[in-house]
C-alpha cells in the first residue's frame, strides 16, 4: 500500500457558508484569519504572504489573483479554515473495513459539497478529493482494525487505533463536525 490516505475533521456548514461568499467577504475572511493561517506550517492560502508586506500590497495581489483565478483563492480558504485538527493516517486494515462496507457507498462526496472548479483553475489541480464520514464509519474502521490485529505489529495497532477512537468520540460529542476521508491523489486534469 503506497497511498497515504488521511482522516481530518471537517466543518460542512462552514464550507457551505464560504461557497456562497462574495469577493469582498472572502477578502475580509482572509484578513480576519491571516495571523492564524500564517502561523501554520501547512497552509493553502498563499495570497496571505502578501499580507506580511502591508495591506496595500495584499490588496493589489488579491485583486490580480482573484481576477485571474477566483476558484484557487476560495479553495485555499476552504482547505485552511474548514479542515481542522491533526491529519490521521489511515492504515490498510482500517481502510479495508470501511471501503468494503456497503455504507461506504452512501457517503457525501467533495463533488457534492464543493462548487465545480473551473478546469483551467489551479483549484482543479490542488483540490482535495474527500468523502464525508460519520462516527459510525470510524467505528467500522476500528472494528476492522481490531478484527485484524493479528496481522500487524502491536505498536502499529495501538498507534492506529488511539487516534481513531479519539476521532470517533469527538464526532459523537460535536454533531456539527464530520470526518473527511482525504484520498491521496495526484490529479492533473
Amino acid at each position: 500500500m503506497k497511498e497515504h490516505d488521511r482522516l481530518q475533521l471537517i466543518d460542512i456548514p462552514r464550507i457551505n457558508t464560504f461557497v456562497r461568499m462574495s469577493r469582498e467577504e472572502i477578502r475580509q475572511t482572509l484578513l480576519d484569519n491571516a495571523d492564524d493561517i500564517l502561523s501554520r506550517e501547512d497552509k493553502r492560502s498563499y495570497i496571505l504572504f502578501a499580507y506580511q508586506h502591508g495591506l496595500a500590497h495584499f490588496d493589489r495581489h488579491f485583486d490580480s489573483s482573484y481576477r485571474e483565478d477566483p476558484d484557487r483563492i476560495l479553495q485555499g480558504l476552504i482547505d485552511d479554515l474548514c479542515f481542522s485538527g491533526p491529519q490521521i493516517r489511515v492504515g490498510f486494515w482500517a481502510r479495508d473495513g470501511y471501503l468494503d462496507h456497503p455504507s461506504s457507498a452512501d457517503v457525501p462526496t467533495c463533488h457534492e459539497i464543493l462548487p465545480p472548479w473551473d478546469r483551467y483553475s489551479e483549484a482543479w489541480v490542488y483540490y482535495r478529493e474527500f468523502r464525508v464520514l460519520s462516527a459510525d464509519h470510524i467505528d467500522i474502521m476500528i472494528d476492522s482494525l481490531t478484527k485484524n490485529r493479528d496481522q500487524m505489529p502491536t505498536d502499529e495497532y495501538v498507534t492506529e487505533l488511539l487516534p481513531l477512537k479519539t476521532l470517533s468520540s469527538t464526532l459523537r460529542n460535536d454533531p456539527v463536525l464530520n470526518a473527511a476521508y482525504i484520498y491521496d491523489t495526484n490529479y492533473r486534469y
Binding site: M1, K2, E3, D5, R95, D96, L99, D100, H101, P102, S104, A105, D106, T109, E129, R131, Y183, D184, T185, N186, Y187, R188, Y189
Partner: protein, 303 residues
C-alpha cells in the same frame, strides 16, 4: 517468465532424433564374473534428448520467430514527466502502464495467432438499447459507488473467485501488484463498486479517467450473480459516468471475433476498431471493419 518460456520453446526441434548404429563396444570383466559394458555410438550433439511432448508455448512461439514482432510493440513512456495526457496514447492504440506502453497487435487463441484490434466507443452515439436498459433495471436494487481506486481484500477475493469461475485459473497477477503505483499513474485510476444490500460487495470494475476519454480495465463479479449480467452493468455505469463528465470516448482493450470472450464488446453501440497499418478508427458498421473482423484470418506461424 515469458521470455524464458519463449527461449525454452525455441530451444530446438521436438521428439527423438534417429540414433546411429553402435560403433564400438568394450567389455571389461573383472571382479569375477560381473561384466561392465561400455558402448559408444556416433551422433549429433543432443541426439539423446529425451522425448518431450509439445507444450502450449511450443505452439505459441514456434522456432525462429521474434516475440516482439508477433505480439506487438512496447515503449517506455513518462507521461507525467513530459506533461502529456494518456488520451493521445490510447487514441494510437496503446495500453498505457505506469512507465511503459504496449500496443497489442496479435493474440493467441485456440492454437492460432489472431489479429487483435483496439476498440473504443463514441460516447455521443452510445444510446441504450432495450436489452441494455433491461440490465440496468434488473440491478436497480444494488448500490453503486464511483471513487478513487483502492485495492482491498474484498476486491482481491472477488477477483480470485471471478478468474476461477470465468477462466478456470488463478489470476496471473494480484490486483495489489498490478495497481501498485496508483497515485503515480498518469490517468486517474477509479473504481466502481457494486454492493448488495445484504451480501455486501458483489462486483467491481476498475477504469482510468483521462482528460477527455475513459479506459475500462478490469471487471469482476461473484459467480453466483451471473444472471444479473454484472459485467455489462458495470460497463454501462462506467459509460454513464464518462458521459456525465463530458468524455468523448470509452476504450475497452482489443477485440477479435475468434475468441468468444471478446464478442460481448460488439453488443454496445458506437463501437470503433483501429486498423494497425493505417491507424484509422473504423466504425463497426463500416465495410472496412467488417473486412477486418469477419475475414479475420488465423495466422499460421509455422515457417
Amino acid at each position: 517468465m515469458w521470455a524464458a518460456d519463449f527461449q525454452a520453446a525455441k530451444s530446438g526441434p521436438l521428439g527423438v532424433e534417429p540414433r546411429g548404429p553402435v560403433f564400438a563396444c568394450l567389455v571389461i570383466s573383472f571382479l569375477g564374473n560381473i561384466p561392465l559394458i561400455f558402448m559408444w555410438r556416433p551422433g549429433q550433439k543432443g541426439a539423446r534428448r529425451a522425448k518431450r511432448r509439445p507444450t502450449y508455448f511450443d505452439e505459441m512461439f514456434p522456432p525462429d520467430l521474434n516475440y516482439s514482432d508477433l505480439v506487438g510493440e512496447e515503449i517506455g513512456v513518462d507521461i507525467l514527466g513530459n506533461d502529456e495526457i494518456p488520451d493521445t496514447y490510447w487514441a494510437d492504440g496503446w495500453l498505457v502502464g505506469f512507465c511503459d506502453a504496449k500496443r497489442v497487435k496479435f493474440d493467441f487463441y485456440d492454437g492460432h495467432w489472431h489479429d487483435a484490434y483496439p476498440t473504443r466507443y463514441r460516447l455521443p452515439d452510445f444510446h441504450l438499447s432495450k436489452s441494455l436498459r433491461r440490465v440496468i433495471a434488473k440491478n436497480a436494487d444494488l448500490k453503486t459507488v464511483i471513487r478513487p481506486l483502492r485495492i482491498t481484500t474484498g476486491k482481491e477475493e472477488l477477483y480470485f473467485q471471478h478468474c476461477m469461475s470465468q477462466f478456470g485459473e488463478v489470476p496471473g497477477e494480484q490486483l495489489s501488484k498490478r495497481y501498485e503505483y496508483i497515485t503515480h499513474n498518469a490517468s486517474r485510476l477509479t473504481e466502481l463498486c457494486v454492493f448488495h444490500p445484504e451480501r455486501g460487495l458483489i462486483a467491481f470494475s476498475i477504469f482510468e479517467l483521462g482528460a477527455y476519454s475513459t479506459y475500462g480495465n478490469v471487471a469482476a463479479w461473484l459467480p453466483a450473480d451471473r444472471d444479473r449480467s454484472l459485467g455489462t452493468f458495470t460497463l454501462l455505469k462506467e459509460v454513464e459516468h464518462a458521459k456525465s463528465i463530458g468524455h468523448v470516448h470509452y476504450y475497452l482493450g482489443h477485440v477479435y471475433l475468434a475468441n468468444p470472450s471478446y464478442r460481448y464488446k460488439t453488443r454496445f453501440p458506437g463501437l470503433e476498431i483501429r486498423e494497425h497499418d493505417t491507424g484509422i478508427w473504423h466504425k463497426f458498421e463500416s465495410e472496412r471493419a467488417f473486412d477486418l473482423l469477419a475475414h479475420e484470418r488465423p495466422r499460421q506461424m509455422q515457417q
